[in-house]
């Protein structure tokens, strides 16, 4: 049901954990449907220098979280924010159709983290 790539990211997730001095944090999902993703970003000079995730959810939820950290680490914010849920799924070699809408939220979590970063920045200035 899952591609090898999904299983690899599920089994060996990249960039798991928290960033203590993160300057952007985004959380999406809810307990009702059983997926919660939390992304921590450390932005310096408008570039995502570090990114980590914590996820409660199924294999697809964990794999997409892991994949997005790989896709956007080192990217400038304006490029990172363009990454879509669909691209994340494609980078994993696809997801089962039933997972496309419920567990494929990593890009939304990233957008929320970037928004949080921008808000904090505005307040600081």
């Amino acid at each position: 049901m899952y591609t090898e790539k999904v299983m690899d990211h599920f089994q060996n997730p990249r960039n798991v954990g928290e960033i203590e001095d993160a300057n952007g944090v985004g959380e999406v999902g809810n307990m009702k449907c059983g997926d919660i993703m939390k992304l921590y970003i450390k932005v310096e000079g408008d570039v995502i220098q570090d990114i980590k995730f914590q996820t409660f959810g199924c294999g697809a939820a964990i794999a997409t979280s892991s994949m997005i950290t790989e896709l956007v680490k080192g990217l400038p914010l304006d490029q990172a924010v363009e990454v879509s849920n669909r691209q994340v799924a494609e980078a994993l070699g696809g997801l089962p159709p039933v997972k496309m809408h419920c567990s494929n939220l990593a890009a939304d979590a990233l957008k929320a983290a970037i928004e949080d970063y921008k808000k904090r920045n505005e307040q600081a200035n």
């Binding site: 798991v16 959380e27 307990m31 059983g34 997926d35 914590q54 996820t55 409660f56 419920c102 567990s103």
Partner: protein, 388 residues
């Protein structure tokens, strides 16, 4: 890699005796039991003999047994067949919140056709309260359908008591005994029920075959059309190899029921004790009135499918009531009906033991689970005591 199959409530392997009994009917004994010639007549005798064996195993009479394509069809014939046969008498049916979808969805289909369904609640252990049934019965009630043992949490209902309540009100009672037959005593006379469903592949028989017990004098309308097989109730050429397999499997399952029970209970209890000893792992279902092979726990702060995948990588086959595995966006209706919160329901794990399960299997599971829980909890943003 060590492989441990703990999903016997999903399906069981066909046992050797059953397989051997079936082989001739897949090869030289191929005749159609409805044929007049020798090839068919021979098979007719064997099908009738299988019916007799199924009847004996359930303490029924041969003409009270109808072969079906499985538990789901047996449930559908019992529920829809009763509704269509008795709709002039009334259009109210009673069921429970934790039924298998075979029953629940049949009731939902009737609801769309103008029937009224009362769904009885369950307590935190998944038990139906017979007093709730008593209160729900009405003048126009035509059927009560409640399962004997639940497929997810293993809770065993007081069928005799509830069947007797229904009968005091002149209402027919159907029980789905798919999960319990072979694990617990199942005797149609003792239960005092009018209709009872069983399935082949849960008792080391083949898939695609089941049976419905229909007590003498219980009128049913047929829900499919096309021939005189099974006395018009279930038209279509008989699944002869399946029927022979079901009869053989059921006979053995009933003969060995006590032995099976004695084998499973200590292993089940060891697994329950071992799992619930880990932090924030709780038992779902009834602590006493439960199937001998059923373990269902919730592991807080982790999600069920992630648990299944992790256990699968360690060679352990189990299932879960999380939304991801229920085929919908909601977690198991059984766990939700028992009042579990979403997180607890999503983190549920069902391990169902069977004939081949050994103590080494249980030890292996208990040695693997803590590492998996720790890994997934570390990954989880959900902290202790989070409620939503």
């Amino acid at each position: 890699m060590r492989r441990v199959y703990l999903d016997h409530s999903a399906t069981t392997p066909v046992r050797k005796e059953v397989y051997q009994a079936m082989i001739p009917y897949l090869t030289e004994k191929f005749g159609n039991p409805s044929s007049v010639h020798w090839f068919g007549r021979e098979i007719r005798k064997d099908v009738d003999e299988a019916r007799e064996r199924v009847a004996n195993a359930l303490n029924a009479e041969s003409k009270e047994i109808y072969f079906t394509s499985g538990g789901t069809e047996a449930d559908n014939i019992a529920i829809l067949g009763t509704a269509y046969a008795l709709q002039d008498k009334g259009k109210h049916l009673i069921t429970s919140a934790i039924e298998h979808h075979a029953s629940l969805d049949a009731c939902k289909a009737l609801e769309k056709q103008g029937f009224e369904i009362t769904v009885l609640p369950v307590d935190e252990h998944g038990m139906v309260n017979p007093a709730d049934l008593e209160a729900a019965l009405r003048e126009d009630t035509i059927l009560v359908t409640i399962m004997h043992a639940n497929n997810e949490v293993g809770t065993v209902q007081p069928i005799q008591e509830m069947a007797s309540i229904a009968h005091q009100h002149g209402v027919r009672f159907h029980v789905d005994a798919v999960q319990s037959v072979g694990s617990l005593p199942v005797d149609v006379q003792d239960f005092g029920v009018d209709l009872l469903s069983i399935s082949g592949h849960k008792i080391y028989g083949p898939k695609g075959v089941g049976a419905l017990y229909v007590a003498k004098g219980t009128k049913l309308a047929n829900i499919s059309h096309g021939g005189a097989q099974e006395r018009n109730l279930r038209p279509g050429t008989e699944n002869v190899p399946g029927i022979i397999g079901l009869a053989t499997a059921l006979e053995l399952a009933v003969k060995e029921q006590q032995e099976t029970y004695q084998h499973l209970v200590p292993l089940r209890d060891k697994l329950i004790q071992g799992l619930t000893a880990f932090p924030d792992v709780t038992l779902n279902g009834h602590p006493e009135h439960r199937l001998p092979g059923n373990v269902n726990v919730s592991i807080s702060r982790v999600e069920g499918e992630a648990l299944i995948l992790s256990l699968d990588m360690a060679g352990i086959a189990v299932s879960s009531g999380s939304a991801c595995t229920s085929g919908s966006l909601d977690p198991s209706h059984v766990l939700m009906a028992m009042g579990l919160d979403h997180q607890t329901a999503h983190g549920s794990l069902r391990l169902t033991l069977g004939k081949s399960t050994t103590e080494e299997d249980i030890d292996y599971v208990l040695s693997v689970v803590p590492g998996i829980i720790e890994r997934l909890r570390k990954m989880s943003p959900v902290k202790k005591n989070r409620e939503d």
